[in-house]
Symmetry: C2
Subunit: 340 residues, 2 copies
Amino acid sequence: MPGHSGPSRRTLCMLGALGFVSGRQAFAQSDPLTSWNDSAPKLAILDFVARVTQEGGPDFVAPAQRIAVFDNDGTLWAEQPMYFQEAFVFDRIKTLAASHPDWRETQPFMAVIEEDREALAAAGEKGLLDLLAATHAGMTTDAFAATVAEWLQSARDPRFGQPYDRLVYQPQLELLAYLRANGFKTFIVSGGGVEFMRVFAERAYGIPPEQVVGSSGLVNFRLLADGKPELVKQPKVEFVDDGPGKPVGINRFIGRRPILAFGNSDGDQQMLEWTGAGSAPRLAALLHHTDAEREWAYDRASHVGKLDKALEEARLRGWTVVDMKRDWKRVFAFEPKGAL
Amino acid sequence: MPGHSGPSRRTLCMLGALGFVSGRQAFAQSDPLTSWNDSAPKLAILDFVARVTQEGGPDFVAPAQRIAVFDNDGTLWAEQPMYFQEAFVFDRIKTLAASHPDWRETQPFMAVIEEDREALAAAGEKGLLDLLAATHAGMTTDAFAATVAEWLQSARDPRFGQPYDRLVYQPQLELLAYLRANGFKTFIVSGGGVEFMRVFAERAYGIPPEQVVGSSGLVNFRLLADGKPELVKQPKVEFVDDGPGKPVGINRFIGRRPILAFGNSDGDQQMLEWTGAGSAPRLAALLHHTDAEREWAYDRASHVGKLDKALEEARLRGWTVVDMKRDWKRVFAFEPKGAL
């Protein structure tokens, strides 16, 4: 590009690379959070981002330190009537049952095949681990990723009839993009399986695999006879990235304290505590599912995404609570068909 | 910056943000790898980067896939006469001995205090774990990082009299910068402790904490009585990022296969195998320490950075072997004083 050289262009490009220019553009342009109502949470977010990006200001945070972490289930996409990874497990068991005739007479497989919720609950944690072993282990990491991708293409959620990865929250997509435009690095920190989430996180959220932190099973390296290396998933839980495991996972994978954390359940409490306790300006936010019409309404009594203690904690520590019904203009990108 | 707006500036900035412009600048400008001799490894690197960044070319790799992984000890900085983290452990034991009078009569501490290599070797792995527990656990992650930072400021290596983090290889700093200028994301994947490396990796290599993969000990989250959260390091090894652990660590932390891997010892063999077996164009490289005058010469018989099987493997699999003496014009950024 001749005729454009010189220090001002260079400075501009450096600023662009750091997200400053696009950040200013986002401000100068119209509303970056169009699916959010102009209520308190949106104003708190805009104010926070303005403060930490204002060079020379008292709350300025260098771009390298602008780490934002988001829970996934119930924070970036829906989690009802069951965690979507659970739906994947159940669908897989039903598919695999064709080549496992013994499952028709063995728990917990029988319970899944017959959709017997009571028998499944009775199988407890041991049952869950058996189901995980049957669907998440004994194959290479590549084969597992291919299976998840295939499932995401074919499966539909029972309420909206959508592919599961379309049940992502439009306001959160805008928030992620807005943060990145302002020099933030956005991460997922979720109790979900890391290898499950990485299949769709980049496409659905613009979050690359190396910025996805999650629970994981043991993986072994092996060299085949022809010298080809493989990574094989083992039937052994290795790390549970939930509750107190979330700040531990942040420390392990990210290695610095976020300045923004967004969750929706008691499993996010420690992540928000850890984020909120830093010395720089911090934003800790909880999504409260209050919208039975457009999505779901649940909190203290829910079997998924239980939000009880963390809601108390939010009051005590001054976290931002996003009320879905009140604060979101729109929930999903798609238009729900018919009455809900 | 008024008067500079318009689509061409915007395009330029986007390209800049992706590393394209600076990449082209690096090519257009003089040599990006000035500390490398114009021998085969440098030409292989330049050719590889040119191919994977040529849009529309047969070997083009999208920027998001340009993952480069580097071992640390012996690949990015020196590792003789002992791993620098080992030097940290020994120095810490000597410092802490003042408040642990019993150590003067207890192995393996006695061996460290008296610099008795034989007794230390006799203490074996159990001894090593005791030393790690005494120096790497029982404190918060923040306190540990502060201790490492302090040590790096005060300690000097026995041969060059330099702070340890000045014993980084100048040719590798140029390579890291060159890769980043061409849209690569650079990672460390090392057997060293992740919390040890993160203290200096950003300053020394331009590699942020979230791009450092390493061995780790267990960390626990706890809430103090005043509600302040803490992460406390426990005396328990959790993950060893060495040998077959390296591709496992890459899978866990990065979640996609690198297209470039650089190591120097048998502990890097599986990482190079894993990288080399991908379908996209790949570059796998080994640094061979052949320069006793400017650095050290060691390989098959060395107690640190042993390079034996991987050297055979390099021949079989066609990896690039960098001969320090032959291929590097300069080793360190500093000028060694006097005869070595």
